[in-house]
Symmetry: C2
Subunit: 246 residues, 2 copies
């Protein structure tokens, strides 16, 4: 179950089925909480539903709220003075967005798809963290995981050639799905070539060329808009970590 997605509908949240709404296998902030605690949490949080392309918050906004993504996918971006932007990460159901020790958010959070979120005022969250140590520990774990993922991304952007970066991105999509326990053959990929390029430190043309190359090699298919099917995961991961050409 998701950390912050305990809502006023706590009765729902206590049942296995209700959790399925936000992904029953999702490992969110509330994962370690018991039913009684969830009651208290749900009294503080509120649920909201937003359409695709909504801005959840912007870099520089006062960091007064913390969100937990229940459904949908978000991108986190930082903007440079010259207009270029860097995607610092994508977020999936179960992820916490906007927790920081700074006064302001350090990136934009924007939805790629329609999404439902659980929102909590920072003072209320702090109160809850004080009351439920296992929740604070969970938040720390999530933070460490994000840090590791960002370091991994740094390796990708800093040291891999273009096609390897795109391959690594596709593998990371697969990983994200696996964590959520999904099993469909095709992956949802709501990000545009430009989004992917901004994530990988490339241009959208280079990303497009890589996709074309992979398609021609029979490594993937795009059965419909914003879906990918990876046909040769071994080839892709081989390319991603350079375990092919030497």
């Amino acid at each position: 179950m998701n950390p912050l997605d305990a809502t006023r509908l706590s009765a729902e949240l206590r049942s296995e089925e209700a959790c399925a709404t936000c992904g029953s296998r999702v490992a969110g902030l509330c994962k370690p909480m018991d039913a009684a605690s969830l009651d208290e949490i749900s009294a503080e949080a509120e649920r909201l539903t937003l359409p695709a392309r909504s801005v959840v918050f912007r870099e520089g906004d006062s960091a007064s709220r913390v969100y937990s993504l229940m459904t949908g996918i978000a991108k986190l971006t930082r903007l440079l003075p010259d207009g270029k932007q860097q995607v610092v990460g994508f977020r999936y159901p179960g992820d916490v967005i906007g927790y920081t020790s700074r006064r302001d958010y350090s990136f934009d959070a924007e939805l790629l798809t329609g999404a439902t979120l659980c929102r909590l005022d920072r003072p209320k969250l702090d109160k809850l963290l004080g009351r439920f140590p296992q929740m604070e520990r969970r938040l720390l774990d999530l933070c460490v995981q994000e840090l590791t993922a960002t370091q991994e991304q740094l390796v990708t952007v800093g040291r891999r050639p273009a096609e390897a970066r795109v391959a690594a991105f596709l593998i990371s999509l697969l990983e994200a799905r696996r964590r959520r326990g999904k099993v469909e053959r095709t992956l949802d990929m709501p990000m545009t070539r430009a989004d992917i390029a901004d994530f990988l430190g490339l241009t959208l043309e280079t990303v497009s060329r890589s996709f074309t190359a992979f398609r021609k090699r029979g490594w993937l298919r795009e059965p419909e808009h914003q879906k990918v099917e990876l046909l040769d995961v071994a080839a892709l991961s081989g390319l991603a970590d350079g375990t092919d050409e030497v």
Copy 2:
């Protein structure tokens, strides 16, 4: 005061002067602790001194210990199968190294200078975190700060041209010194051109050329080995975030 650097010498640690050993203005893990708590912490931790180039731990080692850097500078690196490496961060006095929720460390930690560290077994740390909530909160804050810094680094590596990356690195050195409350005119820079290149996703030659260019423009001096003096911080930060050429 430093989080994990409470040692068996707790009496020392309680006094302002003793803290100066590990940098009195350093904001480490034990920062929020009172003297009585430090007693308990120091009973668990041990201090060690290591020479330059020591390996504190390697990627893949069992993550059974957590370290706090008291003095010295460390680099954290990830190795790619093809031998290239990426520096995911440098660590300065007051930083915690090796806390993870995974079973193994996800990067190498290596000392650039001689250093003193405070070492704590993971089970003991967990026990302490359970007993001292303010310590756990502090660890969470440090983790969020690291995450923000790594995201910033992602922007640098992904979206800035070579010279801007080097400029950004120099500014980050300045920042790190400011946080430690130092005031000397020159900065310690124990990292080699290769270290810097691996941090910035460049080659050592490109880093060298950037330094030469900055020197020729009068933006910096290197009065002695492993020292830099920034003569025109404005020019460097302008270049770093692209606020000059447009």
